[in-house]
């Protein structure tokens, strides 16, 4: 059989789709092992068709799924730690082990310490992409984003600020929920001045607020846990600050 480029491409398409079966599939695979152009065609079709899955409409799974994933991952991590501990106890620590331990301890400290920036840098991109959905028809804009994290550096809230409309959009990304008689309050922490309240947050997962002042000049945002209705003191949080993060400018 003469394999014209045309035929190769047609076979590659059927191969990637999965409808090339049996002997024909085996012959194609044998050919692919010896010919780079055949391999290339198959890979190109696999890549193209992989997006079929992405064209399916999204659907919200129940919240149970995340809890199960979380528990499984947690269990896996604990098992690994236990295994590592057992190993350490069985043999005296070598120098290499010691170095490794201190390296991971350093990493941990880095994460727990002022490492919000790292999370921000990555999570920031997401917030921007999400906001962009609504802005596809508009001009490129400057966007301000922050990821507010808890004391373990776990991302808890994504914040974007649109300076044109002065609109703040907050999205809760952790499972944290304030109690019945509590409220969360968002604060701007400008340099050299006291905190300014940006508002008491409703319980919604996605919250939109119009900021009274310009958030873009503010280096830090914080969320405090207050009695219901917000801090009795209008100029400062009364309750503990539970999330905070830097505001970062993003040019689109």
């Amino acid at each position: 059989m003469t394999y014209t480029p045309e035929l190769i491409d047609t076979l590659a398409a059927a191969y990637a789709l999965g409808t090339l079966k049996g002997g024909a599939r085996r012959r194609f695979e044998a050919l692919a092992r010896t010919r780079a152009d055949v391999r290339g065609a198959a890979q190109r079709w696999q890549a193209r068709l992989a997006s079929i899955a992405l064209l399916q409409p999204g659907l919200q799974p129940s919240e149970q799924v995340w809890k199960r994933v979380h528990n499984l991952v947690q269990a896996e991590i604990q098992l690994r730690q236990l295994a590592a501990q057992r190993e350490r106890m069985q043999q005296p620590q070598t120098r290499a082990d010691a170095e490794q331990t201190s390296a991971s301890a350093r990493l941990l400290r880095w994460w727990r310490g002022g490492a919000i920036a790292g999370v921000v840098a990555s999570v920031m991109l997401l917030a921007v992409a999400l906001r962009l959905n609504h802005q596809l028809q508009t001009q490129p804009v400057v966007q301000y984003v922050a990821v507010l994290s808890d004391d373990k550096s776990a991302a808890s809230m994504l914040v974007t600020f649109d300076p044109k409309s002065r609109q703040l959009t907050l999205q809760r990304v952790s499972s944290f929920a304030e109690g019945e008689n509590q409220s969360l309050q968002l604060w701007a922490l400008p340099e050299g001045r006291g905190p300014q309240s940006l508002g008491v947050l409703p319980r919604d997962r996605v919250i939109k607020l119009t900021a009274a002042q310009d958030v873009k000049a503010v280096p830090l945002l914080a969320v405090s846990l207050e009695q219901k209705g917000g801090s009795p003191n209008p100029n400062a949080p009364t309750g503990p600050v539970i999330f905070k993060g830097q505001v970062i400018q993003r040019q689109l």
Binding site: D9, A13, A47, Q56, V65, H70, W111, N133, L136
Partner: protein, 207 residues
């Protein structure tokens, strides 16, 4: 389809989104659990949609989804940005987990024919919304565009063949169509898809 998407802006958004997801995968690879949560929040609805389309039962689809994120967590370090966009990589995982699930259950799925019949008539099984398409990236948008130029039945047979990894005769069986018809639709569908994708890729295929 109401899609007035500016391709340049859309590509920029998709690229940002992909970089974001890739960064989260990198964090996960170094053991950062918080990154998994963010990744999950960003992608679970998309992947659950895929799982549902393949297994068609919400309980099973949730099992598949759980399994998928566990795999993603374990294999985050294997992700290579040069090979595929993160969302595509994750979609490949969810499809393969869903197919594994169905293989394990194959003895139990004997009463699905009616569901398949229904599905053939609802086109894509629902259109993705434009913002979803944007984040799915350039490749997915090109494919969507080319698929939407096919006859609805041709398109549907292609989509089902791929998602559920079905042979011609399995498709004929499940769709209650003559084998010859299925073969023709697939051949013509792929042929037209090929022409359309080639022209979109600027004819720059090294053939």
């Amino acid at each position: 389809m109401p899609q007035h998407i500016n391709p340049n802006t859309a590509d920029a958004a998709a690229a940002e989104h992909a970089r974001m997801l890739a960064a989260l995968l990198e964090r996960m690879a170094s053991g950062e659990q918080a990154a998994l949560k963010v990744l999950y929040d960003l992608s679970a609805a998309k992947l659950y949609g895929v799982a549902m389309r393949i297994v068609r039962n919400s309980e099973w689809a949730e099992d598949v989804l759980q399994d998928t994120y566990l795999q993603i967590w374990r294999n985050a370090g294997d992700y290579r940005a040069s090979l595929a966009a993160p969302l595509t990589w994750m979609a490949v995982i969810v499809r393969s987990r869903a197919l594994d699930f169905l293989r394990r259950r194959s003895a139990e799925r004997l009463n699905d024919a009616e569901e398949f019949n229904d599905e053939l008539h609802d086109g894509h099984g629902g259109e993705p919304d434009p913002s979803e398409l944007v984040l799915a990236g350039q490749e997915a948008r090109a494919l969507n565009d080319c698929l939407s130029r096919l006859e609805a039945r041709q398109r549907e047979v292609l989509v089902l063949a791929y998602l559920r990894d079905l042979s011609h005769s399995e498709l004929a069986d499940q769709l209650k169509l003559p084998l010859g018809t299925v073969k023709t639709w697939i051949r013509r569908g792929l042929e037209r898809l090929r022409g359309c994708l080639q022209s979109k890729e600027g004819g720059g295929l090294a053939l």
